[in-house]
Subunit: 339 residues, 6 copies
């Protein structure tokens, strides 16, 4: 027999027209179950010729907005409504999603640091390998829906990377604008870093990475924007008919392109304690401004330790949990993208 | 030697004028430290005659607003500024505060279910016993600062209990209004329940229980309101001179007295999954209205399970975490207090 | 307000005719959910006057035969089929059942050592208290369905206790025979021991305790016998019409009354290692006979350590797991009950 | 100095005549012991010229039949009784055997997914590497004794693989028949999969993989068959004189050659709950037949979820534990091997 | 049947002459073993009339000197050598001893804080209850062998309590001197505290509490002194013939009576970090002298925090582990007992 | 952008004159903190031209003497005092140091088995990679300060390796003597083994590995010797003026060169139990001499198991913890180095 590309199998036929709801069967042999699978949910909707849009969520298990919006989208879409193919993985790291934590409870791995994965590795590695080697070759446009998770909160943001392929970069910028979240961050990365988006970049696939909010919640407003944005993408890339519903038509500004490529964009907690923000998401801060302080309930004789912004800009990201440890990012300050 | 009231000792002299910053020494003998103490931070400020206000936070370790506001208050107050005595325990359950979790990591207990504690019990029980038997006898007014913690979020609220002593109940209502949070909840309880507030009630001590927000955060706005409210209380009870800063003077409405005594005020998650709120805190909902639904990423073939409000009213409390288990309260609907 | 008997509430009305499916709401406030309940499933079927039979399972969470048979019975019974009242708690210690372990994962308690429970105790204690103080006062006949769980395996057995009330003891014996399992064990206990059955005995309620098999399985044959037995009980006590289906009519012998009151009935593992049985359930052994041995894979130079029967009789119970620790019961040898 | 093949050392001399009982010293440096070894028990019996039979157990730590039978064999064999060499590793993954769990408690690895191991890897990888690179080069015939472990139960079975070397495949089939278990499964594998047996296959070594029963027990009957089978193998390959004791001579049928190469041989649990088998090991089932159902004690309003056989055949494997999670194999249906 | 004093049983007959080696059978029903016992080792040696000496070790599981010396003593003593009765429990909290930790791994309890125990409590409580209610009534002289355990180190010390019974106190002092360790500490306690020694005091039984060293070791020198001391005690109380081997005859000084009743005897770690002692056990320090400092490897910008002696005296106790947390005792300073 | 050598960044400029105190920022993305760093403390002191000495501690987190001495040295040194460059990493595996355990609590790895690390690996691997690829290329002399940690205790020792470069080996011997600890061990290793010292050897960098004591303590005497030794090294290599303070000038002997290259140098615990040493560090033992025994408190019927020295020599290393498991090294016997 021929050795298959992956140890993961599925009954889905990616070339078949119609709507298929099933799972990727990741082989698993553990103390609790000697023979078994971890089933990763997948929906494929195909109607004739056309591009393939691959939409993913749950790469981190505590980022719930993407999985919820994608499950709703998967339930709503029908072959008749689209032209081309839509592949939806709403919970790519299902064990982490079920546990409600960033990293897999099975092998402890952060899925978005291990791309392109390993064929014979642990479960998280096998899934990343399957996505990279079976699904990405089918893909024209990849949209991965993240959010801040339990320990971060973003102004709803879509992140894209500068690319050697300037034409693709331009198209990505347009797609980001069509999606319509308040902020667009343009990243300049020097390292693959095991990131899903960089794997797409290396393979020449248009991709973005949404940061839909976070704090471990499913925010009513952000979810509404996301559901509109997903439909906008399908229209933008021609998989669906209809007019894009712009932010402006919803009474809010168009996406603002910004960047956080300067390492001083991040402010860190200087010690373990309780963090008090002085300003909130959306504040404009000055370089050197004190933006919060750490209190020490276990060493109550010590004064609070102030934290400063290291450059001027807009606070686009904060750490919601009151408890911090040294080294945690407590805020991220963005500046307008000069391109 | 005479057997002392408690195994807990302190170098604080509660009758001394001036400001003392120290700790309660709770004896502890564990695998990690055979001889030692758990030190509970305490600040006492006293100036001559006058009532004793006892302010507490950190009864639950993931409710950070109270500890932060109380540490700031303890640092700011001086004997010269007050008349009477202020006792501040910003982190009554210090081990839980340091761990950032509701219950004590040492004995697993929820401190607000074990009052009046036990002299010879585990650490949480000993602290509750000391508070009940050493500090409450010194106290005229008790204010315990809670919030929703990691798994709940309130519109900032102060809770009081109806009392057999109608005069004290009236005074409590006035104090609640002086504190100035948006909502005041009036509880009718049939059970002591191990609650700190019911221990105060039984001992005839005026007390309230603030719910400052929650979601495991320290919210900028709520903290500002809380710091103003604490000063208002000191003025209201005559420990400090000056005029109360009313909500109206800050451009927001006076506290609204409401209640959640009907068990149908609570809506519960019907199964384990990801919860999507349809409406947010502050929404007015109808009885029977669908206010959210549970999604099942691990059983993606199942439709979402709708959750309904069981009576009409204002949504004053929600569960922020996207992940829910059967039996979790996802929303609380309040109605105006008819007295 | 009047302080209720229990902190547990339910929407079930035990006096109402008809079939009600609901839950007991045990209040729960944990790190993962500040406000919430643990819901214990309950079914009540009532039709006019008649005795109340109370059937329970899942007191230990790894004894699955009872919960499965009771869930099937609860689904099948209708008011029209019975006369009187049937109360079914298929998973009395639901958290343990969901975890698949003997003791509660919440408070670590073995529910069958803590009766009659405590009103204000931890979750397991509260459930035991509710059962003792709310449900037992409604009960005429109590049947608690245990099995060996993960670490024991019984020849299917029903256990009864000798009673001061010889009339009730006689009736219990008849009920045990009507149920129709191969073995009936008659226990002479000197200690309440926190056992559910002893709480029934103290309250003068007829009760037995079935041991349906075990090894952490749901055996096809045993389950069939159990489902027949449950119908037999309803007929025996007049809650249902129809003829008892005796073991003899199924081609197997009537229950054999035996006892294990001599402490030497138990044989213990003498050291930690892998246990090899020399004889199986149902074997007749002699006093002093070597019935197994412990092997030491970590100390391979040591010879296996033999284990002997300490008296003659029938092996009615064995420990299935190959791994043993010193002090584990590996076998129980029964003798015929002389009454 | 010359870098040795492995970091593992032993005082055993594999070329020496006689019987040696010792251990493989796997270097280990942990929090609990900075300098130390994990000792893997080994027995080598050699008498002059002749083939080398290498017999192993305890690759998974909860499969106890193999270790028990091999420890008894190692104690019983003497150089005088054999011609050639017998190498016995009764507990190849000793830390897992001592813990009684499938995977290593030290590095979490499933040893039978990591062959041929890594010289400088974690402990499980080092052992697999030593076996592959030191012991397999000495080996003519390899027999690895597995069983179902805690979460599976087999009709006693011996598994072999089809091979490119048809002569070896034929010899393996004869050895399997000589061993004499009820079932022989013939596997067609497309992937090395880190399996010990595939490592043997790649190296051209005759090997099989016994599945002696399971459910975490040591079954009296299966153990007896195994001990006879081991002697039969020694006779079959000429290491020992004497006549093979066939199953037929024990009054039971000869091994039946079957296969489970169709992925539909496996039936999976569709959700988390309690599993009720409708049929038992040895049953003949039809394609589409309902063979069991999942009950939901935590969601008692839901009906049980039926599980079907996906093809016709003999049920050779079942999951014994009553508690299941989605994706667990609950049954395996075999068909006769057509060759 | 009569309800027995304890749920614990034993086959030992305390009134029988001769030497009996056996165990106390503590009933245990856990997830890992539904029916079983925890066996607590006991040796009883009796020869005719005479007093009963009860010697215990392993009340804390990480204090190894006592268990080792007592196991050696139990092996060595014979009825012929003594007059009276010696009861030896070398590992009273066996589960803690096997785990090598202070508190029981089963119920988390510190046995020396729970006397006189509870008949129906968890395992540690049951053992304390049995000792208090079955063994202490048999006892004339009780000697409990502690040491510092993993987190403390003593100059070898014997501790006694002042007593209302001055005659017994005087006899205890003489016994302490006969035992012959370098230091004798005389405690004045105001609280029972759940201590074994205070339970003896309340029952009018002569008792001491040795602190043989600690740091989680078995020190060669201290063990030798202990073994001599145990023989001295048997001679002192007339259970054995022979002359007491005094410290002076071994070339070391007689025990020095000291005390640590002033709370300022203890110096505490002021924060979490690495502790550097400036002086060692046996040093004479002045009040206010800096005796060590805490270093902060995680906050390397901070200066070390000095720790001072709070009164003058001899350092008899130190904390050996380099890692400390706020509240840990790092040193104890003793002063000569003024009586 | 150019892909950097490491994912770790720092604001330290290694070429700048002066004293810089900062950290290496190891990127970290975990369940508790999605964006953050693990900060590894570093101090660099540079003054003009001259060699680079690189001094490290905390490779194992429970070896506290090195971190304490290095933090004190880093605080004390100033550019004016030296000529050349000193790089100090007092807590190379900071997460392990903060946890007080040998291996990293984040990825479980023993840092001294994974050199030269991996650029994209887990945190411990990234640090080892940075040290190997960024810091070692800057280094002339490397001194790594270990000790026995919690589970070993050494007579203070410095370890060096024989080298192909005999000139460097000779210089290393002189440096070892200049440092001045009682013992010098000369190792002959056949395997890189992932050791930091072997990575230095491969790169041609002079290095030693000190073993400063251990038992999880910070010993007063050993720390004093270490602080003197560190100054001696700076003088020996010309980074500092002044005369070496020899052991002889402190009234103790010069370092004694010994070796433990024979595998029989180690004696192992033969079973799990409590270990009693018969001799202490510094004892001269004979081959075959019984140096201790294992007691079995859980199997009190068994006699203690004696442990023998396997060759003659000086006991330079012992295991302090009383609890042992099979395979633990309990003692190491050294012989004089014959060169």
């Amino acid at each position: 027999m021929v050795k298959p590309i992956s140890r993961i199998s599925t009954e889905i036929d990616f070339e078949k027209n119609g709507k298929q709801v099933g799972h990727l069967a990741v082989p698993s042999s553990t103390n609790e179950s000697a023979y078994g699978i971890v089933p990763i949910p997948i929906t494929v909707i195909k109607n004739g010729k056309g591009p393939t849009m691959f939409m993913t969520g749950g790469v981190h298990g505590d980022e719930y907005e993407g999985p919820v919006a994608l499950m709703k989208l998967a339930a709503k879409l029908t072959p008749a409504k689209i032209q081309g193919r839509v592949i939806i993985l709403p919970a790519m790291n299902l064990p982490a999603v079920l546990a409600g934590q960033r990293c897999s409870p099975i092998d402890g791995l952060n899925m978005n640091r291990v791309f392109p994965g390993e064929r014979n590795g642990s479960i998280t590695l096998q899934i990343a390998h399957y996505v990279s080697n079976v699904l990405l070759p089918l893909t024209d446009y990849q949209f991965d829906f993240h959010s801040g998770g339990k320990t971060l909160e973003y102004i709803p943001t879509m992140i894209m990377n500068v690319s050697k392929d300037k034409k693709r970069e331009k198209r990505t910028t347009e797609a980001l604008k069509a999606f319509g979240l308040p902020i667009g961050l343009v990243d300049v990365k020097s390292d693959h870093g095991g990131l899903f988006e960089m794997e797409c970049e290396e393979r020449g696939i248009l991709s973005t990475n949404a940061e839909l909010g976070g704090a471990g919640r499913v925010d009513v407003q952000t979810l509404a924007w996301t559901e509109i944005g997903m439909m906008n993408l399908l229209k933008f890339f021609g998989l669906m008919d209809g007019k894009i519903v712009t932010p402006e038509s919803q009474g809010r500004p168009a996406p603002r392109l910004m960047e956080v490529n300067d390492p001083r964009s991040n402010s860190f907690a200087p010690d373990t304690g309780l963090y008090e923000h002085f300003v909130d998401l959306g504040a404009n801060v000055k370089a050197g401004q004190t933006i919060g302080q750490v209190h020490f309930p276990g060493n109550w004789e010590k004064k609070p330790w102030p934290v400063k912004a290291r450059r001027a800009g807009l606070m686009v990201l904060k750490r919601p949990p009151g408890r911090v440890e040294r080294g945690d990012v407590v805020a991220q300050i963005a500046q307008d993208w000069k391109g």
